[in-house]
């Protein structure tokens, strides 16, 4: 049984449509710790010891956030800067996170087509996520492909519900270690490992 830590960052969660449903589905699951960063640290004063302890207690870490300006909301950066200390997370003596899995679970307004060489955004999502990937690498963690919900501005409530169920399925699979290394390597998005619900409209 793998334990999952969701590091959730949404500055206006009360206005969110997508993340609200995602969180509703996974919040109460067994073996999952849901950690709401903006709610816990409204002043961005991150409790480093507590965060490190949480990391140690879990096997899979998820940065769940809206994909603001091709990146994460500010508190995630603050978290990275403060929690991943030298000689703790990285460096010659920093081996505390070795072997843990980590990935981003994000929502973005643009469609999947917009995120490629010829699209409006000119780069793919994994290319934009390079800083996260490299951070994981430096900390001896295994960086998994992201879970992405595209075109959020066009999604109906029903669509969002289906994507959220998919997210739930992914987390259940992760807690039971049902996904092989092979499978991780074969996909761009973790979404691709799961059966796409037929009713999704877009």
């Amino acid at each position: 049984m793998a334990k999952i830590l969701i590091l959730f960052a949404h500055p206006v969660f009360e206005k969110s449509r997508v993340h609200k449903r995602m969180v509703n589905h996974v919040r109460q699951l067994e073996h999952i710790s849901f950690h709401d960063l903006y709610e816990t640290y409204p002043d961005l004063d991150i409790d480093i010891k507590k965060e490190q302890q949480l990391l140690l207690e879990h096997d899979v870490i998820i940065w769940q956030h809206p994909f603001y300006w091709y990146s994460a909301p500010a508190i995630i950066k603050q978290w990275l800067d403060l929690v991943l200390e030298h000689n703790w997370a990285y460096g010659a003596k920093g081996k505390m996170l070795t072997g843990k899995k980590i990935f981003n679970a994000i929502s973005c307004g643009g469609s999947e087509e917009a995120y490629n060489e010829r699209g409006r955004n000119r780069y793919t999502i994994p290319q934009f996520l390079a800083p996260f990937e490299q951070t994981a690498h430096l900390c001896n963690m295994q960086y998994l492909p992201p879970f992405v919900i595209h075109g959020t501005h066009r999604l109906s409530e029903a669509d969002i519900e289906l994507h959220s169920i998919q997210y739930l399925q992914l987390l259940v699979a992760l807690t039971h270690d049902r996904i092989s290394e092979e499978e991780y390597r074969s996909v761009t998005y973790l979404n691709d490992l799961l059966p796409v619900p037929e009713q999704v409209q877009s």
């Binding site: 969660f13 009360e14 206005k15 903006y38 307004g109 501005h153």
Partner: protein
Amino acid sequence: MDKNSLFFQAFVYLSAAVVMVPLAKRIGLGSVLGYLLAGILIGPAILNFIGSEGHDLMHFAEFGVVMMLFVIGLELEPEILWKLRRSILGLGGLQVLVTTFIISTLSQLLFEISWQEGLALGLIIALSSTAIVLQTLNEKGLMKTSAGRHSFSVLLFQDIAVIPMLAFFPLLASHQPDIAASAVKETTWTAGLSGWMQTLIVFAAVLAIILSGKYLINPLLRIIAATRLREIFTASALLLVIAITLLMTQVGLSPALGTFLAGVVLANSEYRHELESDIEPFKGLLLGLFFIAVGASIDFNLVMQKPVLILGLVFIIMTIKGIVLLVLGRFFRMKLDQNMIFGFALSQMGEFGFVLLSFSLQEGVLKKEIIDVMIAVVAISMAVTPLVLLINEKIIQPRFGAKEKEDERESDKIDEKNPVIIAGFGHFGNTVGRFLRANGVKATFLDFDSERVELLRKMGFKVYYGDASRHDLLRAAGAEQAKIIVLALDNLEKRLEMIEIIKKHFPNLRILVRAENRFDAYQLMNAGMMHVYRETLDTSLRVGTDVLKMMGFRSYTVNRMARIFLKHDESTIKKLAAIKNKEEYVASAKEYIEEIEKVLESDRHDPELQNDKGWDEESLIADAGGVKPS
């Protein structure tokens, strides 16, 4: 013109006060001395404007003392009174006993009088003047120091002690009662009753005040407040005080004690501040009148006839009282400087002295010659008290203070001058200082409570004792080299005074000043302050923040809202402070309230005010032609 007409008399008293009090304040003598001088000026000795009503007036003006005790009671919650019990009973009781004993023994040795007369004189002289002492200490901002607290305790004990004294005096009678005087003796309900019935009625009256204060007056005030007629509330406040005064006089108790009790009972009432501010102007005017009457009652003819006797008596009595107080203060572990203030402040005789003296005449306790001399002595001793305190403050204390500072400097010599000075180490300055220290910034503290200073020094703070508004003390504390001064004193007057002194002598200092509320802040801003910190702003916003969080709001959102609100509030207060015209001010203050309401309303709907448009996806969703969030 009829010299006795009401309007002419009012004109004389008021103009004397209006001329003399600001003058006295300007040259640093304090308002009490101003009133006394005004009284002497219009009294029989100089201008002789006062008609025969001068003495009646004093009786009327004593009502100011009654009101003062009511206001003091309002500020004193029962718990505080309970905490002071040791000092009231111990210090107050010992002061009256020891002083009475010494004076009565001495007077029998020096003059040919009976032991009854001696005892009566001792009791009269033991009493000090509540009116003069409290008014003067208040004006100097000393009420919260240990000298202020102990003085208050002793005065309270004396005011209570007057009651048994009034009962006891007839037993000391050894002369023929003055028929003319006893004819005016008031008839009270208790007059013809037996001793235990009198006691019973007294207890019933006190109980009635406490119970009605708790269960009757508060609901009544609520009904009256609901009418929203300000003058009726003022009228009922006055009525309350007058009714208690009448009741107390009828049962033969001191009205001052009665109103004081009522004040204490009402100290926890929600109308406490309204009552206080309604009574305040009456109290102030009547007390002023009382001081004028004291000044006017000094019989300079008599003083001219027996200058050595009268002035000698004033000097000897005040010295004896002062020494007794100093010794007792020492015994009650007061620091020397506080003890000096305490001793000098209470060394005079008081308004109850007048009462007891005329009572003695009426009951035949003392001879008329003695009483005439004593009235002059009492009045003069009251008149010189503010002067004595001034001498203590300007001449004696600085020497003593300087001496202590020199000792201090021996050990402080190697210390570098600190870049920050904090004036006032109460709860406010305390927090600032601790925060600075936690971050390795050294600060110098100024405080005028010597016991607190002692404690701070023990904790390793660098503290200078004294009135922070004295520029020599500021200089000694390193104001010339420092960069920043924090004015954390809880007295607004003192803060304003300090601002002027710092602007004049130490323009190098940046001033950060504490303000109690919005109105303080206006005054401070008009005094040129840029950095004004309202005690009631950040804390109340924190409470609001927590309320919203408990209501289910997201904490990060609420935090942002609170910071936006804070900035908005700070910018409006700066705008409002710039308005000098009073009417304009009232209008804009009203506008401001409406504005706040508008802002509050729009905070929830208007993304512009939240400055969080970057996180608002409504327009993006609209562009995408997608579904609107429900």
